[in-house]
């Protein structure tokens, strides 16, 4: 590897990407996962000989800066990177930071691929230089509704939606509600609570007498845990079960809730069952193996998103055969490829609407992919808490 | 009993007291008078350990007090009723008094009764918040609190400050009683006339140094004292 690196260096040094990440503060957990995803990408790319641009080969390097989980710092860091002539930006963690950074990227003529900015509004601002590899927020809850109406027997007739009040969760909640109506389910209640709540008993108490067949949560981890935990406390057992965005696939969810986590459905950007493959990382399963070999942990979808963003940038650069941001932008807009992460292709707003999300279910303490491709079978309906 | 030798003390880098020699005997009432800013309060603070002397020694009952912090000094049997009363403003009168006996192991109800007897006014106000007492009532409470610690020596800074004349009389009388019960008293007092009449011995402090000392009567009829402190030519 060493000699390859020297060759690349001799041919004209390294290719520099920049990433402003939440390494401390509120979002540090996810920020660090994202960083690992980028790091893995870098490692694999360099092992495979670097990035070929025209007739030159570059070693990939990524500089990281800590945005302290605040959007304005993320924006400032991206600006600093521009001064250091870093034109290719891998996105920060979270919609707020991504949105703040995208405004700067646009002004500076940099190029950013977002790995974790899911909120649809980011892509509705008319920005030309920001792309997102992940499925947008509106898909997060809708996916679960699609899956349930596709494979659950009996199909739930009524759903209640509980949502945090931040932009991302609200967009997801709206998407889920719309999908439910489309599938002929009745949305009997939509209740909101403050982002970061660990007490959602008021909302649950309100929903309880409505007896919904399915309770859906558009949430982050702590709120998602609270819904399950407090439902158990309050004796709320919907005929079908529970489904939640982002929370269930994370290991913490299962660890914190123990048996109560069982049967919960969750949506994920990626699982090792995701269909598709690419030259660098192989299939999703290959990716999982490789990642685990490198970092010791099985990858979460945050890792995979990050790697996918990095992959898209590299593919676009290689396609463009140039390091001109404008040329790379062009080739990004035309990118249409399969990958371990699923299809990567951007609509005119820069959203990757072509990639389906995965639905998992917690079974025997593990997230098992049940839709669209199935690793295991959906267990439905979920028994009451005290019978698990 | 209390023996101060060539004491120097002050605040930070400012010196206030110079070369002070002073003694208080068993069951003796000693008055300390002196003009405004002479350093009387500072002297009491040095004895009780609130400030650390820079030179000299303070010996109480044969044991050196230097290096002791206030809470240790009070355990040796010296009570200090500070200038400006310094009651625990948010606590009741009763609580303030009880705290005077903090370091005593046994319950101090006898002392308590004695203080209430000494200041009947306090008896009526036991559950009032000390911060809302009238000025004179606060003074009573402060002295009472000092007595609660069952001291061998009580140092009172500005005994009569803000007290009604008849009360001052009573109080001075009570000091006699207190003394006869075995306590010594070191008294800082502006009512020089009353103080010197009562005290066996007295010191006059001027700009940080002892200017005069002698028996109470001697000083009371000393020409310099009469001019400077009693305002009589």
């Amino acid at each position: 590897k060493g000699s390859e690196g020297e060759e690349a260096g001799a041919q004209g040094s390294t290719l520099q990407f920049g990433a402003a990440l939440s390494l401390t503060g509120q979002l540090s957990r996810e920020g660090i996962l994202t960083k690992d995803g980028y790091e893995y990408c870098k490692q694999v790319v360099n092992e495979e000989g670097g990035v070929e641009v025209g007739d030159k080969t570059y070693d990939l390097d990524i500089t990281y800066q800590d945005d302290k989980s605040t959007p304005d710092v993320a924006a400032q860091l991206v600006d600093q990177m521009n001064d250091d002539n870093v034109k290719f930006i891998l996105g920060p963690y979270g919609s707020s930071s991504t949105e703040a950074a995208s405004a700067v990227v646009e002004r500076n003529g940099q190029l950013m691929i977002s790995s974790a900015g899911a909120d649809d509004t980011i892509y509705e601002k008319g920005y030309q230089n920001t792309f997102g590899v992940l499925s947008p927020a509106s898909e997060y809850l809708a996916t679960i509704v699609k899956a349930v109406s596709d494979i659950a027997q009996p199909k739930p007739k009524t759903v209640a939606i509980l949502s945090a009040d931040d932009g991302f969760s609200k967009t997801a909640a709206e998407g889920g509600a719309a999908q439910a109506e489309e599938e002929g389910m009745e949305v009997v209640a939509t209740e909101f609570f403050a982002e970061g709540s660990t007490d959602v008993s008021a909302q649950l108490t309100k929903v309880k007498p409505l007896n919904p067949d399915l309770i859906l949560g558009s949430v982050h981890l702590e709120e998602g845990v609270a819904i399950i935990k407090q439902s158990e406390e309050l004796g709320i057992n919907p005929a079908g079960g529970f489904g939640e965005t982002v929370a269930p696939p994370t290991p913490d969810f299962i660890e914190t809730l123990g048996p109560a986590a069982e049967y919960t459905l969750g949506s994920s950007q990626w699982t090792p069952e995701t269909e598709g493959e690419d030259e660098l990382f192989g299939t999703a399963e290959d990716y999982a193996e490789g990642f685990e070999a490198a970092f010791g942990d099985t990858p979460e979808y945050h890792n995979a998103e990050a790697t996918a963003a990095c992959l898209a940038m590299i593919l676009a650069i290689e396609d463009a055969g140039s390091l001109e941001p404008e040329a790379v932008r062009e080739s990004l807009a035309n990118l249409d490829t399969e990958s371990f992460f699923g299809p990567i292709k951007f609509d005119e707003n820069g959203k990757n609407i072509y990639k389906p999300m995965q639905v998992i279910q917690i079974q025997d303490g593990k997230p098992v992919t049940v839709w669209p491709s199935a690793e295991g079978e959906l267990k439905w309906p979920a028994p009451p808490f005290d019978e698990r | 009993m209390l023996e101060i030798k060539s004491l120097e003390a002050g605040y930070g880098r400012i010196g206030v007291l110079w070369d002070i020699d002073l003694t208080v005997g068993e069951q003796e009432i000693v008055a300390l008078v002196g003009s405004n800013g002479a350093g009387k309060t500072t002297l009491l603070r040095a004895v009780s350990g609130v400030i650390a002397p820079t030179k000299g020694s303070i010996v109480f009952e044969g044991r050196d007090l230097s290096g002791l912090v206030p809470e240790q000094v009070v355990r040796r049997g010296i009570a200090h009723v500070p200038e400006g009363r310094r009651l625990f403003a948010g606590l009741t009168v009763r609580e303030n008094l009880k705290l005077g006996a903090f370091h005593l192991k046994d319950s101090a109800s006898a002392d308590f009764d004695r203080v209430v007897e000494l200041f009947p006014r306090l008896g009526e106000r036991l559950d009032q918040i000390a911060g809302s007492l009238s000025g004179g009532e606060q003074q009573m409470c402060a002295i009472g609190r000092g007595l609660m610690s069952r001291p061998k020596l009580i140092m009172i800074d500005e005994l009569s400050l803000g007290l009604a004349p008849n009360l001052v009389d009573q109080l001075l009388e009570r000091l006699e009683t207190i003394r006869s019960e075995g306590m010594s008293v070191l008294l800082v007092e502006q009512d020089v006339d009353a103080a010197l009449t009562l005290a066996e011995r007295a010191y006059v402090l001027e700009t940080g140094q002892i200017a005069l000392e002698g028996s109470g009567d001697e000083l009371l009829f000393d020409k310099r004292v009469r001019e400077a402190y009693l305002g009589v030519a």
Partner: protein, 252 residues
């Protein structure tokens, strides 16, 4: 003589306690009125009610013909009434000079600039004998100087009525004489002054009239000599020793 301050049935209760109870007094223009009474008689409370720091439970306060009952403290102050606090309340982090200047800056009618106020302050400090400590902080002052500072702050306001709550406590006799002279000279300058003191010598020396409060009520009122020999006052307040001393010493 016209009346400058008048209270009518002034009452202030704290819970069940009538700290000031139905007190009606008058203070004549350019007079010095002494207020005495046992500890807890209600003297300070009376001042607090008059100056708006406490709301009266009943009764009226009239200053210079205007009803000022229940007015806010600063309104009373700007109308020309200044007071000292028995337990001194200096501005701890300002110098003595600045402390006094504040009186001049916001006192009645004389909205003086900062610079002018500082000059005023120097004058007042001179007058109360505190010039040497002008740059000191109040916390460094011994008790007597703290009292002088209270007085100086009040004086700097150039008030018409001055309410002094035990500004001589803690002074030695010779210094008390100075204060007596000061009060007299202030009276010459046209001020009206209410003096609360337990130092009888001073009260007797300066007062045109003495009012005795006892358990919140007015117990007696009259010329100093009369009051000093009033049996009720001796019984409730002065005590035998003082009565004796007053008889011996007479007026200074």
């Amino acid at each position: 003589m016209t009346t400058l301050l008048e209270t009518d049935g002034l009452t202030r209760r704290f819970g069940g306690l009538d700290a000031v109870s139905d007190v009606s007094v008058t203070v004549e223009q350019n007079s010095v009125v002494g207020f005495i009474g046992p500890n807890g008689a209600g003297k300070t409370t009376f001042i607090n009610v008059v100056t708006g720091f406490l709301k009266p439970s009943a009764g009226r306060v009239v200053f210079d013909g205007n009803d000022v009952t229940g007015n806010r403290p600063w309104d009373v102050a700007r109308a020309g009434v200044s007071r000292t606090f028995q337990i001194a309340k200096p501005f701890r982090d300002l110098t003595v000079r600045e402390n006094v200047a504040l009186g001049s800056m916001f006192g009645p009618g004389n909205s003086r600039s900062v610079a002018a106020s500082l000059t005023d302050a120097d004058e007042v400090l001179e007058r109360v004998g505190l010039s040497e400590r002008a740059e000191a902080r109040p916390g460094e002052l011994p008790i007597a100087d703290t009292k002088r500072l209270e007085l100086a702050k009040a004086l700097a306001m150039k008030p018409r009525l001055l309410l002094l709550d035990e500004v001589m406590a803690g002074l030695r006799p010779a210094e008390i004489d100075n204060s007596i002279d000061l009060i007299r000279s202030l009276q010459k300058d046209g001020l009206t002054i209410v003096v609360i003191e337990h130092v009888m010598k001073a009260i007797l020396a300066v007062s045109d009239k003495v009012i005795v409060l006892h358990e919140g009520k007015r117990l007696a009122e009259g010329p100093p000599k009369e009051i000093a020999s009033d049996d009720r006052v001796i019984e409730a307040y002065l005590g035998e020793r003082y009565a004796k001393r007053v008889k011996e010493g007479g007026d200074a």
